[in-house]
């Protein structure tokens, strides 16, 4: 048989109907739901007297607009209605909901893997573009709009055009102090935010194999920032070890049997991709974005670029607009950019290993005067784990705020907002204009780089402190 990529294998396994001139009808194994992109979908079901075809393949949580302050009281009445609407919808349609006070609550892309819902070979969708995160397990996982949410609720399927495949091969090893976030930011800085359009990306190569599951999630999470429909990594023993024992993982003998099937999904030797790009991990340095889309990034030891240095007028114009919005001057060393706010959280970087890295930097130090620094764990489970390890104490003693789980300042739909004109070092994934609050300025970085910026009040090269990756 012709060698196939994991993308083709999973796609073919889920095919229900194929016909010339039409998209494929695919079965969807897992549908994750949250409060912001679902209300209109449930309303559509009710209007048409339809039900949810497979409630047990659907799992919901509240994350986008929930407060992350200690008492979790939702003051905003419109947010409250949105949360209550999801509670009612889940109850009416028989869907399990990790509600605000549930021990499973958290960012939808954090809890899926944590509960063992995310597994190799599955097709996974959610009304959220960062669904690509789940691809870290060797699943085809992608974001959908609300109409498609309704479609999946009603039919457990989606019409999808067969995507093109792209391989991003990362050779060599990441240097000390350089992490998964730097890797994906460097890829996007080099190739731009639309390189992946129309493609599903598979990340391969030595540097990828060496990443932990949490680091793989960081990489796959930002596939959408490269324009890709989804990003994934072929499963291996690291994947299997992570899943074992989790609530929704297969148990006992079934686990062994399933594991064998999972590992067979890995792309075959010699499988071909529509496009392949290769990069060398050892050349990557800690990254900081300076502009208003994730490709406008630089290494920590670079300077803010001169917009006139870009090759096309379109890029020059975009860079001029970005630098004006960000209130930066060409030639300023990235090191010297002062910071007002630090946000460590989001589905990109809010897992326990992210918090451990940040805590290592924060330990025994203090947040710089005038800087507000927040730590928002990705889930209740992570928060508890961090507290068991004493990380919360490290952070609190260093002057960081220790918050409850949610999306928080990643998109600032709740009260966690970067004030207009203020500058934030953020471990999230989008630095669009106004993303963290109207007029806010976002610099995307890794958790360690964010913690270092909090301590210094400006960016700093993490490698000056780090001894291990």
């Amino acid at each position: 048989m012709k060698p196939r990529t994991i993308i083709e294998k999973i796609w073919d396994q889920h095919l229900i109907h194929r016909e010339n001139g039409k998209p494929d009808l695919l079965y969807i194994d897992l549908h994750l739901v949250h409060e912001v992109t679902s209300p209109q979908a449930f309303e559509g079901l009710r209007m048409n007297h339809r039900s949810v075809r497979r409630p047990e393949r659907t799992f919901a949580t509240v994350d986008h607009n929930v407060p992350t302050a200690q008492n979790r009281e939702t003051k905003d009445s419109i947010s409250k209605i949105q949360i209550e609407t999801l509670q009612k919808n889940c109850k009416d349609f028989g869907i399990e909901l990790a509600d605000i006070y549930s021990p499973h609550q958290g960012i939808v892309h954090v809890i899926g893997p944590e509960l063992g819902l995310t597994q190799p070979g599955k097709t996974i969708v959610c009304g959220d573009s960062h669904t690509s995160t789940h691809g870290a397990f060797g699943a085809i996982a992608f974001g959908i709009g609300t109409s498609e949410v309704e479609h999946v609720l009603a039919t457990q399927t989606l019409w999808q055009k067969r995507p093109k495949t792209m391989q991003i091969k990362v050779n060599g090893q990441l240097g000390i102090g350089v992490g998964a976030k730097d890797l994906i930011l460097a890829i996007i800085a080099k190739y731009g935010i639309s390189i992946g359009t129309g493609h599903i990306v598979e990340y391969t190569g030595e540097a990828i194999r060496r990443l932990s599951m949490e680091e793989r999630m960081t990489v796959c999470n930002m596939s959408i920032e490269a324009g890709a429909r989804a990003g994934l990594i072929s499963p291996d023993q690291t994947t299997v070890d992570y899943i074992k024992g989790r609530r929704f993982a297969p148990k006992g003998a079934v686990f062994e049997e399933t594991t064998r099937k999972w590992l067979e999904l890995a792309s075959d030797e010699g499988a071909s991709y529509d496009r392949t790009i290769e990069i060398d991990a050892s050349e990557i340095e800690p990254q900081v974005t300076w502009g208003t889309n994730p490709s406008m990034g630089a290494s920590i030891n670079d300077t803010v670029p001169d917009p006139e240095s870009f090759e096309s007028e379109e890029k020059r114009q975009a860079a001029r607009k970005a630098i004006t919005y960000m209130d930066l001057k060409p030639g300023t060393p990235i090191h010297d950019i002062p910071i007002d706010v630090v946000f460590i959280g989001s589905c990109t970087n809010s897992r326990i290993s992210d918090l451990r890295q940040a805590a290592q930097i924060a330990n025994g130090k203090h947040v710089h005067e005038g800087v507000r620094a927040l730590i928002v764990p990705g889930s209740y489970t992570i928060k508890k784990q961090a507290e068991a390890e004493g990380l919360d104490k490290v952070f609190k003693e260093a002057g960081f705020e220790w918050r409850e789980a949610g999306c928080s300042m990643c998109l600032a739909m709740n009260d966690d907002i970067v004030p207009s004109g203020k500058r934030c070092a953020s471990t999230s994934n989008r630095n669009f204009e106004g993303r963290q609050g109207t007029g806010s300025r976002t610099h995307l970085v890794s958790p360690a780089m964010a913690a270092a910026a909090a301590i210094h009040g400006h960016f700093a090269d993490i490698r000056e402190f780090a001894t291990t990756r």
Binding site: E43, R50, R53, H64, G127, S129, H151, S194, E433, T438
Partner: protein, 194 residues
């Protein structure tokens, strides 16, 4: 979904690349549980200042473009968040057609599902269109069946996936179509012992 046949409207140029859905509709407006009424929030941070006054330099606020229903923009329109509120806001504001050299995948699908026609047109032609539209009072006729765009001197064909074209022209409910495959879905579930 409203059926789409021919459509004539005033063209507004938006001379920007990578217009993301956070700009099309900022997150503070995503809390509502309805589908309607998002037009007032379209491009909110570009249309209004911090006090809620109209920014006169933003193109949609210029009197020449009042009532525009066709938007022309540059590469990678609709990138970022998957929020379907973006096409809802465009549609509610009055836009029925968006033309750009390329669109982000999820946004493109979301338009389709709401009867907003997203047309990919090569960069050179978009350049011409932006030129025409920048003069003001430039109208285009979009004929979906014929796949043509016509306005003054401008006449071009555009490509569209035949299946998407059919859905748009007939204004079909995709869920109803899929439910015709119920037996296949059930058979799939049985084969996979679910």
């Amino acid at each position: 979904m409203k059926a789409f046949q021919t459509f004539e409207g005033l063209v507004c140029p938006l001379d920007r690349t990578n217009v993301d859905t956070d700009q099309i509709i900022p997150k503070q407006f995503l809390k509502r549980v309805e589908r309607k009424g998002f037009g007032a929030c379209l491009f909110y941070n570009w249309r209004f200042d911090e006090k809620g006054n109209k920014k006169t330099d933003f193109i949609l606020n210029q009197p020449d473009y009042a009532g525009a229903s066709i938007l022309v923009a540059r590469d990678n329109f609709g990138c970022g968040s998957s929020r379907e509120h973006a096409p809802w806001a465009l549609q509610d504001y009055g836009f029925r057609v968006i033309i750009a050299p390329s669109f982000a995948d999820i946004f493109f699908n979301n338009c389709q599902k709401n009867g907003v026609l997203a047309i990919r047109l090569d960069e050179r032609k978009v350049e011409t269109l932006i030129g025409c539209a920048s003069q003001g009072a430039f109208h285009l006729t979009v004929n979906l069946a014929e796949q043509t765009l016509t306005g003054n001197e401008f006449k071009e064909k555009f490509d569209i996936d035949p299946y998407q074209k059919e859905l748009l022209i007939k204004g079909l409910d995709e869920i109803a179509i899929t439910l015709n495959y119920d037996n296949d879905i059930t058979a799939y579930e049985q084969r996979h012992a679910m």
